[in-house]
Every structure is written in structure tokens, then in C-alpha cells.
């Protein structure tokens, strides 16, 4: 029972992180694309309860540029918090266009997470179909498919991703770019899940109950659906826990290198992209904001993956 503590912590962490990104519209104070050219690279605002004279105020407040108190207002205009109109509150600072980093972080998280999950589903879908088909059919089909998978595995993953991404049109509307990037990431990663599913299928195919079911005339469809696919479930779950963070990072990397999702739609990758300019990196530390989400997210997924791997290998 004690082994389950990290797992349940990780799962609840994941639920919280996904929940935060899901309710980005409510939790974030501004529209992620709203620009304030006069406030570029504003430092994160500090929330105060005591003013300069040391007087306590029940309603928390921030100081604006002229050192006047700006009290926080809660639950206004379908946002969790905000401040009265001419002033702005940037809890995580602002970027070069003066956009609120927190709003971008949450909205960007929605895009990055959905992208990661979609790409994973795509990869696993291809992997399960190809792996099951190859493993169940066997023979030259299996041989050929596994050779192709080997080819995909033999290429350095990031290089392949970059090369393929570069071949696809770069300047299209954001939705198409999002789908293109996600599809590229998902399709390129099909080989590993396919191989793992195949070996699970090969093992399941030789099980005595499959042989017996053949004996009373069960067709391939019955065997695959009722006996073999359930056996691949643990592989699929473990792979999902490994692939989602990997693919989120793939999107981040692509966008960071300028080959992923473009402005103005936020994603964790293109939020990090300004860091390629050295002076941004050294002077405005709050530009690494996506890291505050990426690190716990990866940690939670990794704990899940470890727990799943452990439960699958009988010791």
C-alpha cells in the first residue's frame, strides 16, 4: 500500500495540472493575445497585504508603476482575479509585447497538453494497429513492417522530426499548423509502440487459451478483440505515460526552434522562444515560466510510468 502513495500523488498532481489548463479562461486574468506595448518585459508583480507604511489591508493589492496601491478584485468579468482597468496585474511578468505571462502560460498549456495527448493517441493508434497486425499475421508482413520500424528507430529522433517538420509548409494558419505539428510528432513516433505491442501480441498469440479458442473455430476478429488486445493494454498505458510528456516536450522544442506553433497563439514552446536571444535569457528570468509547469508535469508522468512499469514486471 505504501508504494501507492507516490502514484496517487502523481495522479492527483496530473489532474490538478490538467484542470488548471482546462479552466485557463477563468483562472487567467487576461486574454493571452492582448498586447500592451508600453509594458513590455514587466517584472512579476508582488502581492502585498501591508503597504509602505506597514498598515495591513484585508484586500491584497499590488503597486503599479507610480507606486500607488491597486487592490485586487476577485471574480470579475468571468475571471478569477484582476485589477481595475487602466492598471494591469502581471503575476508572472509580461513578455516583449507586454502580454500577460500567466494568461499565456495557462492558455498555452491547454494547447500544449492537447497537442501532447493527441500526438500520443495518434502514435499509439498507429502502433497498436500496426503492431497487432504484424504480430498476429506474422510472416513477411511482420518482417517488412518491423524493418520499417527499425528504420524509424535508427534515425535520431529530433533530427527526423526537424527534417520532416521543415518539409511541411511553415506559414499557414494557426489551426493547421497545430494539427500539422501534432500529426508530425505523432506519426514519427509510431515505431516504438508498434514494436512493443507486437511483442505483446506475439506472446499473447501463443497463449494456450488462444490456441484452444482456435480449436473451437474462433475467427481472427474474435481472437484479436477478445483475447489479444486486452493483453496489450498494459503496454499501451505505460507507453502513454512515457509518450505524453515526451510529445509535449517535442512541441516545446519545435516551437522553441521556430518550427512549431507560431505567434500569436500561445504555446509553452513559443513562450520559450524569446530565450534564444541572449539578453532576454539573462535579464528577464520570468520568461522561463513554462518550466514551472513542465517540470512538475514531467515528474508526475514519470512517476506514473515507473509505477506502471513496476506493476507490469512480476518480481
Amino acid at each position: 500500500m505504501r508504494d501507492r502513495i507516490p502514484l496517487s500523488l502523481a495522479v492527483s498532481g496530473l489532474i490538478v495540472l490538467h484542470g488548471i489548463c482546462l479552466f485557463a479562461g477563468f483562472l487567467s486574468p487576461y486574454d493571452p493575445t492582448e498586447q500592451n506595448r508600453t509594458l513590455s518585459f514587466a517584472a512579476p508583480a508582488r502581492i502585498h497585504f501591508f503597504d509602505n507604511q506597514g498598515v495591513f489591508h484585508l484586500r491584497p493589492f499590488v503597486y503599479n508603476g507610480n507606486s500607488t496601491r491597486v487592490p485586487l478584485r476577485f471574480c470579475v468579468d468571468a475571471h478569477l482575479f484582476g485589477v481595475a482597468a487602466p492598471d494591469r496585474i502581471f503575476l508572472l511578468g509580461s513578455d516583449d509585447y507586454g502580454r500577460d505571462q500567466l494568461s499565456r502560460l495557462l492558455h498555452g498549456g491547454r494547447i500544449s497538453l492537447v497537442g501532447g495527448w493527441l500526438a500520443t493517441i495518434l502514435s499509439l493508434g498507429i502502433g497498436v494497429v500496426v503492431g497487432t497486425f504484424a504480430g498476429f499475421r506474422g510472416g513477411w508482413v511482420d518482417e517488412a513492417m518491423m524493418r520499417v520500424a527499425e528504420l524509424f528507430l535508427a534515425l535520431p529522433w529530433l533530427y527526423l522530426l526537424l527534417a520532416v517538420r521543415a518539409l511541411l509548409p511553415l506559414t499557414v494558419d494557426p489551426e493547421t499548423t497545430f494539427l500539422l505539428v501534432t500529426a508530425t510528432i505523432g506519426v514519427i513516433g509510431w515505431a516504438r509502440p508498434a514494436r512493443l505491442v507486437r511483442s505483446a501480441v506475439l506472446e499473447a498469440k501463443e497463449r494456450a487459451y488462444v490456441q484452444v479458442a482456435r480449436g473451437f473455430g474462433a475467427g481472427s476478429l474474435h481472437l484479436v478483440m477478445r483475447h489479444i488486445l486486452p493483453e496489450t493494454r498494459s503496454v499501451v498505458f505505460t507507453q502513454a505515460a512515457l509518450l505524453v510528456p515526451l510529445y509535449i516536450l517535442a512541441e516545446v522544442t519545435l516551437s522553441f526552434l521556430g518550427l512549431g506553433l507560431g505567434e500569436p497563439a500561445p504555446s509553452w514552446g513559443n513562450m520559450l522562444a524569446p530565450l534564444r536571444q541572449y539578453h532576454v535569457l539573462t535579464s528577464f528570468w520570468w520568461m522561463v515560466a513554462p518550466a514551472f509547469f513542465l517540470v512538475p508535469l514531467c515528474l508526475c508522468f514519470q512517476v506514473c510510468a515507473d509505477a506502471l512499469t513496476k506493476s507490469n514486471t512480476p518480481c
Partner: protein
């Protein structure tokens, strides 16, 4: 025996490389546009100049023709020409590759030197608090993305003025910790598997001294996964540092590749991809050969 083994592996590698190069040619062919597409938009360059450029770069030829040109050129060690730099790809890649190798070999060597003793030591004291601490921190480090880590180190270096040491030390500082946790984890797991084997327990029951037990029984048995791991490290020599190079600004293959990808510099992309595939294949080959010499079971079979 060794010869036939090597021959078979070599055959496999060659087939793989052929498929890789063909695949990248096909992909690049499918892509819309080429290196000169953007130049076409420039009104100051006449269609005649463009046509002559196309002709010179061989872009008017058919796909198989270009592929054979490339294969011939690769066999001579040139790997085609770079359109953007107007020079043989080899001359362009070579210095970049050396600097990448300098970076990756240094940091991988360093990572192995740290990870090997640490991993074995942790496995030998499995369950003790230093071991647990190590396992925990490995998991923690593993979940820090490379990109984030690189940025973090750069920020620290800038704040504390360490950046003045610049260049190689900084890049190594970033790349070594990135590759360390995975190595450590695998080494520890490999040694643990070996030390939990039945014959090790039997030897311990026979009263074999701990020293002899570890050096004669456990470590040779653990060498198998470690050698495979080493092969993987070698395989990643060219491809593991792309991101770090870009972030830190190390003049290796990574930035060149990105630039070539952006400019559709056809042969440079193919050249870099093939080169890293060669390294991947070489790494596996190396691991196979080492295993062949170290593992009596493979030699027998």
C-alpha cells in the same frame, strides 16, 4: 565466426544507410519548393539567372539522377554541395562535426566517469539512505527537460558571471548533467539485476568474499547491459547535443542543421542525417563487437 558475424552486421548497416538516404531524398522530394523558391520571389533576379542556378545545382534533374549523383559524391566523401554556402558538404560539415564530437565526447566521458562508480556503489548499498537519495534525485533530474535545464544553467552562469569561462566548459556543464541521470539509472538497474542472480546468492552462500563476489561474479555479469548502454552513448555522439548546441550557441552540427532545414539546403540536411545515422549504426556495431569479446555465450552461438 567473428568474420561472418561482422559481415552480417555490416550488411545490415549498409542496407540501413541506403534506406535512410533514399528515405530522406524521397521526403525532400515530396516537400513543396526548393532552395531557390524564395529567390524566385525576388524581382531583381532574372529568370535566366535562376534557370542557370537551378541547372548548376542539379535541381532540374530527375530524382533518381540526383540520388545517383549524391551516392557517387558520397562515395568520394563529398556528400554533394551546399547551395547556401556553395561548397562541398563535407568541407562544411567536417569542422562542425569535430566541434560537436569535442563537446559530446567530453561530456559523455565525464558522465560515464561519474555514473559508473556512483551507480555500482549505489547498487552495492541498495536500500541505504545514500542509495535512496540517489534514486530520488535521479528521478527528479530525469524530469527536468533538457531545454529548461540548459536555460536554467545559462541564467545561473550569467547571474554569477561564470559565463566568462564560456564555450566548451559551459556547454559541457549543460550536457553532462542532462545525460547523467539516465546513465546512472540504467547502470544501477543493471548491476542490481546481476547481483540478485541465483548464482551470486549461491556464491555468497559458499563463502566467497565480498570483494571477489563483486569483481568476479557481479560486475562481469552486469557488463552486458552496460556495454549495450555504452554503445547507445556512442551512437548518440552526433545527435544528442542538438538542442544544447542551439541554446548555448556552440558551433556544432545542430545550428548548421537547423539553418539548412530552414533554407531547404537539401544535401546538407541529407548529409547530417546520414552522418548521424552512420554514428548510430557504428555505436550499435561497437556494442555488438564488445559484447562478442566479453560475453562467452554470444561467441558460442
Amino acid at each position: 565466426m567473428l568474420k561472418s558475424f561482422l559481415l552480417r552486421r555490416l550488411q545490415h548497416t549498409l542496407l540501413l544507410l541506403t534506406l535512410v538516404s533514399m528515405g530522406s531524398f524521397l521526403l525532400l522530394e515530396l516537400a513543396p519548393g526548393d532552395f531557390l523558391t524564395e529567390t524566385t520571389l525576388n524581382p531583381r533576379i532574372s529568370p535566366q539567372t535562376l534557370a542557370s542556378l537551378r541547372d548548376r545545382f542539379g535541381l532540374t534533374k530527375s530524382l533518381p539522377e540526383r540520388y545517383f549523383y549524391w551516392v557517387r559524391s558520397a562515395a568520394q566523401g563529398e556528400f554533394g554541395i551546399s547551395f547556401a554556402y556553395d561548397m562541398p558538404v563535407r568541407a562544411l560539415i567536417w569542422p562542425r562535426m569535430l566541434s560537436t564530437l569535442l563537446l559530446t565526447a567530453t561530456s559523455l566521458g565525464l558522465a560515464w566517469m561519474i555514473a559508473l562508480p556512483l551507480g555500482v556503489w549505489a547498487a552495492a548499498r541498495q536500500g541505504s539512505w545514500p542509495d535512496r537519495l540517489l534514486v530520488l534525485s535521479t528521478s527528479g533530474f530525469l524530469s527536468i527537460p533538457e531545454l529548461v535545464f540548459a536555460c536554467g544553467i545559462l541564467i545561473i552562469a550569467a547571474k554569477t558571471q561564470w559565463l566568462r569561462m564560456g564555450g566548451l566548459p559551459l556547454a559541457v556543464c549543460v550536457l553532462t548533467p542532462v545525460s547523467l541521470p539516465l546513465l546512472l539509472r540504467h547502470i544501477r538497474a543493471g548491476v542490481l539485476t546481476a547481483s540478485g542472480a541465483t548464482y551470486v546468492r549461491a556464491a555468497r552462500a559458499h563463502g566467497v568474499s565480498e570483494m571477489r563476489l563483486w569483481f568476479r561474479h557481479v560486475l562481469p555479469a552486469a557488463s552486458h547491459p552496460l556495454i549495450s548502454l555504452f554503445g547507445l552513448s556512442v551512437a548518440g555522439l552526433l545527435s544528442s547535443s542538438l538542442l544544447v548546441e542551439v541554446v548555448v550557441g556552440w558551433p556544432g552540427l545542430g545550428p548548421l542543421f537547423l539553418e539548412a532545414v530552414g533554407a531547404r539546403d537539401f544535401y546538407v540536411v541529407t548529409g547530417v542525417v546520414s552522418l548521424s545515422a552512420i554514428f548510430l549504426a557504428a555505436g550499435t556495431l561497437l556494442a555488438d563487437m564488445l559484447l562478442y569479446f566479453c560475453d562467452p555465450r554470444i561467441r558460442m552461438n
